[in-house]
Each structure stands twice: as structure tokens, then as C-alpha cells.
Symmetry: C2
Subunit: 364 residues, 2 copies
DNA sequence: GAGCGGACTCGAAGCGCTTCGACGCCCGGT
DNA sequence: ACCGGGCGTCGAAGCGCTTCGAGTCCGCTC
């Protein structure tokens, strides 16, 4: 047959055409491709040749319909009005790469709130499994997925984690590490600018863990810990912090969970406090700003891209193999000390140095 | 029939079941859903009731197979080793939202380089159209899509734009606006820290436009314009800038296209120059850092989320309606003057030390 | 009152692939 | 030489939906 060699806009070849060209049955082509039944080397060669010549590529939806597997995973992002930190986007980037590498496709979606919508994506064959972020302690989405028996992996975690696969940043550990750092520098009154109230109320696990561990740990260290929910948005954060600085003049350091540090730094500047001479600042999530700021920001360094990658890999593994046990990965907090934290300022000269009622600092 | 009300893990209903329950033909249900043929009100009611009762939702792949349309658009991101700026992720976020809103799904993928892979996604029914970013002047991907007749929209543009729909940031305008600003401040020797060499060599349209316009415009304004390709990565950028500062001591201001400003600021600091007293800095893409830095960064404000949203909307419109003319949107450059640009320093008298840093204030 | 057109509705044929049961052939055992 | 058993291969039956052509029934016209 005289054919134009690679007429691009030509309709793509179907499996039936491959079969015809190779002179074999349609099903044989399928078995060559899937390897689910043995095929003789001779047939294999012929089929592969035909595939090569006709530049055949299987049709996604047809395959999904017949096999019941779409070879796609769905990733739900927090909706924009919630906290969308750069770290979330890094998760997505990591997951995207792992997905491509694993020969899967990645369906990205917002609308994360509704369990129904999420379950449906799997139930109606658009995806084989789901990755969820910003997980709550009691997360309806997770319950729904679990109940329906849909494979999923969390970035973050829920309250009860039995049998659930997740990758989570160790916010508890971050509190330990952060407070230890500040305690060592002699700070005795430290604020935690946590996720904003609505997320705490919703039960964002990370926020609750941060709060609880912060309070427990500061007590253990003999530090006065002030827990302050705080919006990420700079101007709102500014207000919250300004109020805090007024009501808690003792406070000489703050930890932020996200980019509340922006508003914090502005408020400190406005009140004439120098960082880190008068006030130490550090953030649990600082990338990718940490190095850009002046002074550069002490913080926890999370391998977020890797985390996203692992979540996707875990999900794909779950989809590919049968009966994989749940894997739970807690990414350890790694402190990177930069310029924004320093020794606690000495008590103001004017006031008589109050003797410390706290226990003397323990050595690590 | 006695049924458990909402046995979640039950297999989802199919259209045939709906038809049976409603006592109509399968095809009638389909027509009710698609509205492609008139259906009497009575039938409609019965079908809708059945759908409601059985909580029916159409099966994605089946629909895609039968109709040839997947109701999905594919978005290709620059691969990680290329420039992935926050702005790219904002595009993605915007596109994601528009996609959800338009009742489409969004397939996210890297691997952007290969025209074959990209065309295949559409050819094999995974997506109905494509959004491309980081477009080159001669972009093989675009040519391929066009040749195959696949619908697509660009974020960015190619050299020849005839009949191509795109949303692009007006980098040319940004050069005009930026140089005008600096000229007004009296600068007479200005550097452009453009995209890195590999992107220029690849023919990234934005980079070429920036370069050409920068050179033309600076000449027109009687400014000495120094074009410097520069990596985004801070340490590499640092080196490039350090060299520049050494070889071009006359230079008193720089424009960056991305976050080369990070390395730039570090290099300025290292060489003891104050911003903006000794050196003015501005960036074409500054969000979301601009406000965070000290001094805050003068730059162009792009509505990136909107741009992503529009690109997706345009594509969906193209898919939904027949014969829409190509739409080309050039997002205008809006200069936001902040603290990092100031009057050109007077010719060095004797290297007089600049005053202590001014205390920046929040502007309304 | 019979004929006609229009408005709906139905059944069936795919879309491109997976998968199951069946069949044919070739080889070894006896 | 005959039979049994695999290994390979084939054909056909779907997967759940869209869509086309072919009715069916009704109301209306003359």
C-alpha cells in the first residue's frame, strides 16, 4: 500500500488495525502489550513490528473502560481561599513528577472540601486513587474514601491513622526542635503564630499537633508559651502581631507555622524592634523565602518535593501491587539556623532584673 | 424494593439501571442528560427521579470512549530543571480553578519538551485540548499540535502567532515601564538580568522579547543597557552579578526577569552597596516576594492567577463552541513602585558612606 | 373520518480495549 | 502409531455510554 509516511493529522491506529497488519487476532495484540498471557516470540515480533510501523499507542479511555483502571491518580489541592502555601505547590510538583515517572497521569483538582466529589472521581473511573492534602483530625473525605474502599494516600494525617498511608511533616518534632533552639538562646517567653482560627476550628491536624506540642514542650522547658492563631495574609497577620507585642512585651521570640512571618516582620519593624537583636523569628515552613530575607530566616527545612513524590509513589505502589501494607512516613524536622534568631535580649535596663521564677535551663 | 439507603461501597449505578428503573430506553436517559434531542416533560421527570434515587453519575471513560471527548484538558508545566517560578504554579492554580468551574478536569504533566508526548495525550483521548507554558519562538510542540489539529492555548507565545490563542504577560511593555521608571530616577547605566542562557538559546519568547525591547528602549532613552543572561539559582546568580558589578562599576540599577534578584541582592550586600541608595533593583516577576523583602521590591504586578484562569477558559470555550476565532491576550505591565528603587546615586564623590538604612514604612 | 406531519421514543450498532473460555497444534509418552 | 496435555491463539462477550435510523403515537387538517 502506498501510504504517506507519517501523515500526522491521520487518525491514530487502533488495535484492530495492528492485529490485521500483523495477521493475528486482536486479543493477541492485547496480550503482547499487557503480558498477561504467554505469547510466542514469533508473534511478539510481528506484533511489535506492526505497532512500530503504525506508531500505535493505546487509547486511554477505551482501556480504562474495559479494564476498570484509568491509570490516573487524582490530587486534591486546598481551595485557594484556604492556606495555599508554596509548600503545597511543591507537593504537587513532586507528585506530578513521580506520577509521570510511574507511567500514570495526574488529575489535579481543587474543590477539596466535598467528600462526595472526591469519592466520585474514583467511583466514576476518572482516577484509580487519590492524594489528599490539608487533612483534618476528623476528615470526612478520608472516612468516605475508606468506606468506599478507594485507595488513597495523605499528605498530612488524620487523628486515627490505623491502616492509612501517609506522608506527613513532623510538626510536633518541629516544635521540639524550634523551642529547644530558642531555649538554648535564653528565650523565656515565646509565641507560636499558628495556622489561623478557621483551620484550627476545622481541625487541621498539623495545627492541632503544633499547638499541643508547643504548649507541652514549652512547659517542659520552663518557657512561657503563647499560642496565637494567625492568618497568613500579611496585613491581617500584622494586626494580630501588633496586638500581641503590645499585650506581651515580655515575648522575645516567635515561631510561625507558615508565612505569618511576613506580617510579623513588618510589625516588628513598625514597633522598632530589631531582628534578631530584640526579637528572634523562626518559621516551620520558610522555603523558599528563608534565604531571600534580610536577615535570613531560621527555620525548618522540609523536603517537600520529595514528600510529594513519595506520596504519589506510595499510591501507585498501592494500585499496582496487591495488598501492600499501609506505609506511614513522618518527615523529620531539620533545623537550619540562619540570621533571624539570636540570644534573648537582656532584660531592659530600666526595670530591675526580675529573678527568674523558672527552672534554670537544662542542658540538652 | 427494600434497599439499604446509601450503601456507600455499593457499585455505582449504570445508565442501563436508570433506564430500567424509570421504565424508559437507555437512549432516552442519555438524551435527558445531554439534551441533544427533545424529551417530553413526563419522561424527563421519571428519569430525573430515578437518577436522584439511585444517585447516578455518568462514567467518565465510557462517555469519553463513546463520544470521543474526555471533558479534560491537559496542562504541561515546565520540567523542574527549567525555570519553575512561583508564577508558573500560580498559572496552574488559576487554570485548575477555571477548569473545575467549567466542569472539566485538569490533567497536569511535566515532560513538556516532547511534542510527541503532548500530541499523544489528545490523540489518545486523555484530553480534549492542551495548555502550554514557557513557549519558544519556534516551538515544536505548538507546530505539532497545530498540524494535528488539536485545540490548544498558550501561556506565553510563539514567534508567529497567526490564529493561535494565547495569554501572555507583556514583557516588552514591562521593559518600557521599568526603564522609564529608572530613567526618571536618573539612572544612565542599567543592567537586565534576563533568563539564563539555556532558555535564551532555546528561544524562550519572553526572554527574547525582554532582551530586544530592553536594548532598543534603553538606546531610545539614552541609557546604557547591559544585557546579562543569568540563572535564577541564587548562588549562581550571585557569581554572575558579582562579576558584573566588578566589570561595570557605572551600573546603578538592574532589572531582573525572575528571581535573579535574590542573588543580586546578596551580591550587592556583599559588595557593600545599599539598596536603593547605591543601587536600584526591580523585577519583572516579583510576586509573592516583593512585599516580604527589606527593602520591599519595586516590580511589575502580573495577575497570574487570572491569566491561568483565562487560558483555561479560552481553551474550554474553544472546545465547547464551534469555530471560535483565536483570542490573543497581552496582559499589560503594571508597575508597582516600592522601596528598592531610588534616585541614581551622584557620581562617586569619595565613596561617602551612606546613611543608616531608612526605616521602611508600610504604605496604605 | 382518514391521512399526514411532527414530536418523541426506541433499539441497535458501535467507540477501542480487556478478558474469558475454547480450540488447535505439537510434542512426548507408551 | 495413538492419545493426552500444554502452550499459544482465537473469537466473542462485554465495559457504560453516545448516536443514528427507524418506528410510534398523537393531534390536526381537509
Amino acid at each position: 500500500m502506498a501510504e504517506l509516511p507519517n501523515m500526522a493529522s491521520t487518525k491514530p491506529a487502533t488495535m484492530a488495525e495492528i492485529a490485521e497488519r500483523a495477521g493475528v487476532a486482536l486479543s493477541t495484540v492485547s496480550y503482547v502489550l499487557s503480558g498477561k498471557r504467554p505469547v510466542s516470540e514469533k508473534m511478539r515480533q510481528r506484533v511489535m513490528a506492526a505497532i512500530e510501523e503504525m506508531d500505535y499507542r493505546p487509547h486511554g479511555p477505551a482501556r480504562a473502560l474495559a479494564s476498570g483502571a484509568s491509570h490516573t491518580i487524582a490530587l486534591f489541592m486546598p481551595s485557594p481561599q484556604w492556606s495555599v502555601l508554596p509548600i503545597h505547590q511543591t507537593f504537587v510538583a513532586g507528585a506530578t513528577q513521580a506520577t509521570s515517572a510511574g507511567d500514570y497521569a495526574l488529575l489535579l483538582s481543587t474543590a477539596a472540601a466535598d467528600p462526595e466529589t472526591i469519592a466520585e472521581v474514583v467511583a466514576r473511573g476518572r482516577a484509580d486513587g487519590v492524594i489528599l492534602m490539608e487533612t483534618l483530625t476528623h476528615d470526612m473525605r478520608v472516612e468516605r474514601l475508606r468506606q468506599d474502599g478507594h485507595p488513597f494516600v495523605l499528605i498530612g494525617r488524620t487523628g486515627a491513622t490505623d491502616g492509612i498511608s501517609y506522608v506527613d511533616m513532623d510538626f510536633g518534632g518541629a516544635m521540639d526542635v524550634g523551642l529547644a533552639h530558642l531555649a538554648r538562646l535564653g528565650h523565656t517567653c515565646v509565641a507560636l503564630l499558628n495556622f489561623p482560627t478557621d483551620l484550627l476550628d476545622a481541625g487541621l491536624t498539623a495545627a492541632l499537633i503544633a499547638r499541643d506540642r508547643f504548649e507541652r514542650r514549652s512547659t517542659e522547658l520552663g518557657i512561657r508559651g503563647i499560642h496565637v492563631p494567625c492568618p497568613h495574609e500579611p496585613h491581617e497577620a500584622f494586626e494580630v502581631v501588633a496586638r500581641l507585642l503590645r499585650s506581651e512585651p515580655e515575648c522575645t521570640a516567635a515561631l510561625t507555622t507558615g508565612w505569618q512571618f511576613t506580617g510579623l516582620l513588618a510589625a516588628l519593624r513598625a514597633s522598632g524592634k530589631q531582628v534578631p537583636e530584640d526579637f528572634s523569628v523562626m518559621s516551620v515552613i520558610a522555603a523558599p523565602f528563608a534565604e531571600m530575607l534580610t536577615p535570613s530566616l531560621t527555620g525548618i527545612e522540609w523536603p517537600a518535593f520529595e514528600a510529594g513524590r513519595m506520596a504519589a509513589e506510595m499510591l501507585i505502589e498501592q494500585l499496582t501491587q496487591r495488598r501492600v501494607p499501609a506505609r506511614q512516613i513522618l518527615v523529620p524536622a531539620e533545623l537550619v539556623v540562619r540570621e533571624s534568631t539570636g540570644p534573648a535580649p537582656r532584660k531592659r535596663a530600666s526595670g530591675s532584673p526580675t529573678r527568674s521564677r523558672r527552672q534554670p535551663q537544662r542542658s540538652p
